[in-house]
């Protein structure tokens, strides 16, 4: 993102010109784009959004996408939701932010509520118990895979301190089931201090 686009508090008509990516979308295109990635986005929307917005539609370059997403990860709130609001606002102000946000959230929320109604109605029936048992077991495998994939860079770079922080977080929250607030208040500053020493 260019400095100009990042800075503008008011919907910037000029941001389109200042943004190096060529195909900045219109408001309806924003809605359609986020709609598409969210309904195809099984297992999280990030990978799909990157493919669609960077490679297929070329709204953003890979670097612009990574920069903006890193910012959204850093800020509080669900990452991709932040992404839709900030990106939509930068291009078209309130209309852009609303189009992106509604496109991203409305379809899966409706689907989720329907799924929830089916679960509440039929989930306890013996015919569906087996299916749900299998689904939950597979979900556990998927979560283990995600954790291992995330931890991989630590192994590869032989980073001892971050690995210990990750292990301590796992122990405190997963095994001992301590409240998240206290675990974060203690471990986050410690981890950031260690990272600070490493980046300096």
């Amino acid at each position: 993102m260019s400095e100009r686009a990042a800075d503008s508090p008011v919907p910037p008509a000029a941001a389109n010109a200042a943004t190096p990516s060529t195909n900045a979308p219109s408001v309806p295109e924003l809605f359609r784009g986020f709609f598409k990635v969210t309904i195809t986005g099984f297992g999280g929307v990030l990978a799909w959004a990157r493919r669609e917005f960077v490679q297929v539609r070329r709204w953003l370059t890979a670097d612009e996408f990574n920069d903006l997403f890193a910012l959204c990860q850093f800020l509080p709130g669900p990452n991709i939701v932040n992404f839709s609001i900030i990106y939509g606002w930068r291009l078209h102000g309130l209309a852009g932010a609303s189009a992106s946000f509604i496109g991203l959230m409305a379809p899966p929320v409706v689907l989720m509520i329907i799924a929830g109604m089916l679960y509440e109605r039929f989930g306890a029936l013996p015919e569906f118990r087996g299916g749900l048992t299998g689904l939950a077991a597979a979900a556990a495998g998927l979560l283990i895979m995600t954790a291992v994939q995330m931890a991989e860079p630590l192994w590869r770079k032989r980073e001892i301190a971050p690995a210990l922080i990750a292990a301590a977080t796992f122990l405190a929250v997963g095994v001992l089931q301590w409240p998240l607030l206290w675990v974060i208040l203690v471990l986050a500053p410690l981890s950031i201090a260690l990272a600070w020493r490493a980046v300096r």
Binding site: G77, L132, M145, I184
Partner: protein, 177 residues
């Protein structure tokens, strides 16, 4: 409990707090949701929690939407909407207003330190989620085998996770589990 304003208020408060604590991604909030929903409030059993998370994983859309199902289980459709809104609204509002300021610090070492420092926490939290779900879902040799197979397929091949979820529920539905 279904129409209880107090319950909706509790949900709103819980998810507002969690939205600020979910470091790295919404999924990091899951262990705390489990602690509150199962252990503290008794809104659901371990098993219901695991199933709800599994359904959310199988559905399309942002990962954060597991809160929609949790809210719905606790307080119906109002619960679903309250949980979703408060998990996104307040934190995204803050994010929106500080995005400008923080973007300027992109190259500053302290920002890189904060970002790098939060990574190990989110790894530990996702591992904790995996443990919490596995502890409930894996109760015999067959379910452990499904978990292991799903891990192997999704980790070592490029086959879609959806395929693994589909096969696993089909196997269960056929009465093998």
């Amino acid at each position: 409990m279904k129409d209880d304003i107090g319950t909706l208020f509790t949900l709103a408060l819980l998810f507002t707090l969690l939205s600020f604590l979910s470091v790295g991604g919404a999924i990091s909030a899951l262990p705390e949701v489990h602690r509150q929903a199962v252990d503290l409030h008794g809104w659901m059993t371990d098993r219901q929690f695991a199933e709800i998370v599994a359904i959310a994983q199988a559905a399309p859309g942002p990962n954060v939407l597991f809160v929609t199902l949790i809210g719905q289980h606790v307080a119906g459709i109002p619960g679903a909407l309250v949980a979703t809104f408060f998990m996104c609204g307040p934190a995204c509002g803050v994010a929106f207003f500080v995005a400008r300021a923080f973007d300027r610090f992109k190259e500053k070492p302290w920002r890189r330190a904060v970002q790098a420092g939060l990574v190990p926490l989110s790894i530990g939290l996702v591992a904790a989620v995996a443990l919490i779900i596995a502890r409930t879902a894996d109760r015999d040799a067959a379910t452990i085998a499904i978990t292991a197979a799903t891990f192997a397929i999704t980790y070592w091949t490029r086959i879609s996770p959806l395929f693994a979820l589909g096969i696993a529920s089909a196997v269960g539905f056929a009465g093998i589990l």
